[in-house]
Every structure is written in structure tokens, then in C-alpha cells.
Symmetry: C2
Subunit: 329 residues, 2 copies
């Protein structure tokens, strides 16, 4: 839509009410945006694409799509301990919008949700691109990170505690509900719990504040997007270490109430989209962090031996039905 | 493709041979990239998405797609007078690649072309995302711009010369050839000329050097992606001025040889994808710029009257067959 691109961007994404940052020199509507970054920090960048039917069900609301597209990028900054600043948006819209919604209405809902979350984090939309095609949203986000900061995936050391910032598995249940699948996993839930699960899936909370306060403390960190096991594996490979996870310590979301313990573990271990942070830190630093954030839960230890072992209370290794990640590296 | 995403990025986009910039702290493979921008400059950002069948014909080679996806972003920086530094890539790949090409082979070709162009401009790929869906490529590029620099669309003044950096219309002929359409526009061309036209379409040359040297001289600038008339209109609206274009002065690409003069004008005025810069500057600065860049051509003047007038040699207004943009604002 070369002709209408300009108008689209102008009318929905040039919100005069949006955050107005003093480190922005030139915003939306030119060939480039220009920023004047503060000198005492480095900059962190992350880019993520969400595609309809891949990263969210086709029936997801415009509001939830906008929220999630920005939240997953915020979450990448959180995992680095960065403070968000600006973002750009590339929006690809189909001829026929989901649910036959009028394009104007969809865009109004999308942009309202986008700016609401942006405002919450004091970040500004500084540029964009609108194209015609199957619905997808790409956001690149930029943020400030301390000169000596940045929590990498590499850096985990044997003896480190492995900690997650909150309960796991709710988004996986939300996906079951959204897709009408695995009804035995959701059948016992109250309507309120179902809404909680859907909210976890569609409106993930990026742990920005938590990420920033872990700078200089966490040895390694990332955000949980693909599932604990799958993501933790990135830390283990990058750090050339292994891990033991104590399953009884996994913080299971309350919406896992319909399933037995082992199924709940599997959901918490492999379910995606939780967007909690997972980090490692020295044993001695854990009590102080736990005191500041009582909701953080230690779930295991980093080991020199390069295995990932999932341990039950009796020390037996847990074998998952779905897939195993026991040996690698 | 959550599982294979990691491997994909690792194997094709972590080229150890690629440019290694000293202002990059942390590159591909973590939650974010981290850069340490030099203090004396501002930063310019641009994001562009290319979609198969919209921005390039489905039969375009992986090599050309990679080149163009990066080149159009470089061109946005050129239009701002910025010096390119880093870029991120979000790549969406279908299950079945174009022409049933093996995915590995396609990625090898794509990444080789991408790194070749990146190396030419001394820019580094610092992060990315790979997803599964209809073929599309989003690149966000970042570059340095002088603290007092940045050529905006706003800034054109009545009496300014309007200048383009090179010939127009070749990419439009290239598109005719690629799609096998408008054969009367291409029938007389030699095989060599057809290759030239396809090259103009698929391998646009971003005018980085030219953009940088126009800093502080050009009053307004942009790059020609949608076609001269359509793009110039952005300058006119942003600057609250009008323009007169002298059609006899339009630099027509040599591959417009098969069409009559008026059709050639239309191709040059409305054909997209040329990626020349179009800028305005004070009359008194023009001789010096023309001396430095003899290939630059003055094509018109900025007027106080807010019309866009296309003038033939006798001063008559030219009426296009396809569409007019005579009155606006």
C-alpha cells in the first residue's frame, strides 16, 4: 500500500498524546528518526516479529496483539537489564482484517493499546513502516544499559543458583484455552481462572524493573519465551555448564490446577510465552535478592557437569513425556 | 520455528568473516545487542519491511532479496546524510522456499549477499529473529549523524533548486521485465539493457557518500522509493511549499529507449524503486555541488505557491495518463 502508507502512519501512529522524550531529535514521518543518546550509557537493541497463527492465534484481538508485540521486545531489554527508550514498528496488514473487522477500527484498537503500554514504560514510537500482506508485526526496541552492564547468557558459573522471577505455565494454559485444545488441562478452571490464563498469554508483563536491579548481580540471564528448558539451554550452552532443576521448587501457576503434578511440571518446563526472567547468581547474593523480591523462586543450581538434570524430591531423574533435553554439548 | 531458530541464526548469520566494529559490545546470539555509540554524533534509525509479491516479484533470487532489503535501508540513511553502523534482521521464511529451493541453499545465498553489501558499507549485523510464515524481510538500520545534521523532508524553501542524484525510470522498466508486463515498453531493448534494468530494480545503489556530503547544504532531502512525484510530495507537504518540475530536464534512464518521450516522463515521474536521492538546495550552492557530482541533475524549483506543476519546454502543463498530483495541501 505505497499510497496509503503515509496516511496510515500519520493518522494512527503520530499520537500527539504519546510520550515525548527529550532524547529524541526527530520522530515519525521522515526517512529516519534521530536520537541523541545520553553519553554515560551504552545502547541495547532487540528486534522481534510476531506472525498471526504462529506467535498468536488468528482470533487474537488487536489490543492483545499490540500489547504482546511490544511486551516481548520490552522483555528482551529486561533480560539485559536495560532501560527502554524508543521503538520502531513495521506493521504488515492483510486486505481483510481478522474477523472481518474494519481496518480503521482495528488500527484504532491496535494503536491505542500500543501507546498505552509505551506510556507505561515512558518509551516513544519513533518510526515505522506499513505494508500489505499477511498480518505480522515487527518491533525493534532500543534502551539504555550501563557501560559496564548487560546481563548476557554466558556467565553462569557452577554453584550459581538458578532463579525465575515468577510462576510458570499460565501462558501455556492460556494457549490451550485460546485454541480450544487439551480440554482435560483446562476443564476444571473457573471462568476467572480462564481469564487469568488468557491474560498471561496475551498480556505478558516485561520484568524491566527486576532486570535493572539485577545488573551487576546476575551472572547470566534471559527471558522465558520458548519454555524454561529450551531457554535455559541457551544459558547452559553459552556458559559451557550444566544444571540441576529441583522440580518440587518450580513455581507452578495457579491455573495448572486441573492437571496432575507431573503434567504441571511439563507445562512449566516446556510451555512458552511466560516472559518471566530466568537468571543465575552466586549463592551468597541470593538472600538479599530474595528479600527484595519475595516472588522470585530458586529452582536449581548450575553444575560443572554439562547435563541438564530434572530432579524429583527423592533425587530421581524425571523423564518427560514430550521431549527430553538430558544430554547435549 | 522456535526450535530451529537458534541454529538458523547461528549457522548463517554469525559469519566470523563479517565486519567487526569496535563500537559493538555484544553482537548476535543474546537477548539484545549492545553498542557503545561514539559521543560526538547522534543516531539515525530506519526500519523497512520487504514482502514477497509486494516489494519484489516472487521469482526474485535470494541474492537480490538480501541486497535490496539492506540497500533500501541504507538508502534511508543516505537521505538523512547518515553514516551506517549496525543493523538487525527479522527474517520470515515459508515452509516451501521460492522455486522449491532448498532452505539451506536459499539461506546460504541470502546471507552471502547480505554480508557482501554489509562489508561494502562497513556495517555489522548485530541481531535478528527468524520466524516461519510468508516470505518477508525486515531490517532496522542504525547510523551516525552529525549533532547539527540530518536532512529532513521539511526545510525546502521557495527558490530552492530541486536536484536528483541520478537517472530515473530504470527500475520501473526492470519491474516490467521481471513481471513480463508492458512488453511494448521493453521490446526494443538489447539483452544487455534488459540486464541493466533488472539490476536497477534488484540491486539499488544507496547514495551514502552523496548524502553525507550534502549535510549542511541540502535544505530538504529524501530517497526515491515510491516514485518522484509521490515522494517529492512528502517534501512539499512537510515544507509547506510547491514545486515546478521541468520535464525536459528529467534524467531519463537509457533503458527507457523503447517508449516515446511522454511515456518515458511518466515512468520517470511515477516509477518506484530508483533509490536516487532527491534534495533541494539554495540556488547559490548548486554550482559547487554540480561540480563535485556532475551526475546530479537539477529538475525544477521550489515555489511558494503550493502546487506541483509538471512543465513541458513551452511552459505548458503536462497531464499524465496514469494519475495526477496537481493540487493538494
Amino acid at each position: 500500500m505505497p499510497g496509503s502508507e503515509f496516511q496510515l502512519i500519520q493518522s494512527y501512529f503520530s499520537d500527539p498524546e504519546q510520550v515525548s522524550r527529550s532524547d529524541l531529535i526527530l520522530g515519525i514521518g521522515d526517512d529516519c528518526a534521530i536520537v541523541a543518546p545520553r553519553k554515560q550509557s551504552n545502547l541495547a537493541f532487540s528486534i522481534d516479529t510476531l506472525i498471526s497463527g504462529v506467535h498468536f492465534p488468528h482470533n487474537t484481538s488487536a489490543d492483545a496483539i499490540a500489547y504482546k508485540a511490544l511486551a516481548v521486545n520490552l522483555s528482551d531489554l529486561a533480560a539485559m537489564g536495560a532501560e527502554p527508550a524508543w521503538f520502531t514498528l513495521s506493521l504488515t496488514l492483510p486486505e481483510v482484517m481478522p474477523g472481518n473487522k474494519a481496518r480503521d477500527e482495528w488500527l484504532e484498537e491496535f494503536s491505542t493499546a500500543l501507546f498505552a503500554l509505551a506510556s507505561e514504560h515512558n518509551i516513544q514510537l519513533i518510526g515505522g513502516d506499513t505494508t500489505c500482506g499477511p498480518l505480522s508485526i515487527t518491533i525493534q526496541i532500543s534502551g539504555y544499559v550501563n557501560k559496564d552492564g548487560g546481563m548476557k547468557r554466558a556467565g553462569a558459573k557452577p554453584g550459581d543458583r538458578i532463579v525465575v522471577t515468577g510462576p510458570l505455565g499460565a501462558a501455556a494454559i492460556g494457549l490451550d484455552i485460546a485454541l480450544g485444545q487439551n480440554k482435560e488441562h483446562t476443564g476444571c478452571l473457573s471462568e476467572a481462572d480462564k481469564q487469568l490464563a488468557l491474560r498471561a498469554l496475551n498480556y505478558p508483563q516485561a520484568k524491566i524493573k527486576e532486570g535493572i536491579s539485577l545488573q551487576g548481580i546476575a551472572h547470566s540471564a534471559l527471558d522465558l519465551s520458548d519454555g524454561l528448558i529450551s531457554d535455559l539451554r541457551h544459558i547452559l550452552i553459552a556458559s559451557d555448564v550444566g544444571a540441576e532443576i529441583f522440580l518440587e521448587q518450580l513455581p507452578l501457576s495457579g491455573v495448572l490446577a486441573c492437571v496432575d503434578k507431573k503434567t504441571a511440571w511439563e507445562k512449566a518446563l516446556t510451555g512458552g510465552d511466560d516472559y518471566e526472567l530466568c537468571f543465575t547468581l552466586a549463592e551468597e547474593d541470593w538472600p538479599k535478592v530474595r528479600q527484595q523480591y519475595p516472588e522470585f523462586i530458586a529452582i536449581g543450581m548450575i553444575t560443572a557437569e554439562k547435563d541438564l538434570r530434572l530432579l524429583e524430591a527423592d533425587g530421581q531423574e524425571f523423564k518427560m513425556q514430550k521431549r527430553g533435553f538430558d544430554h547435549f554439548g
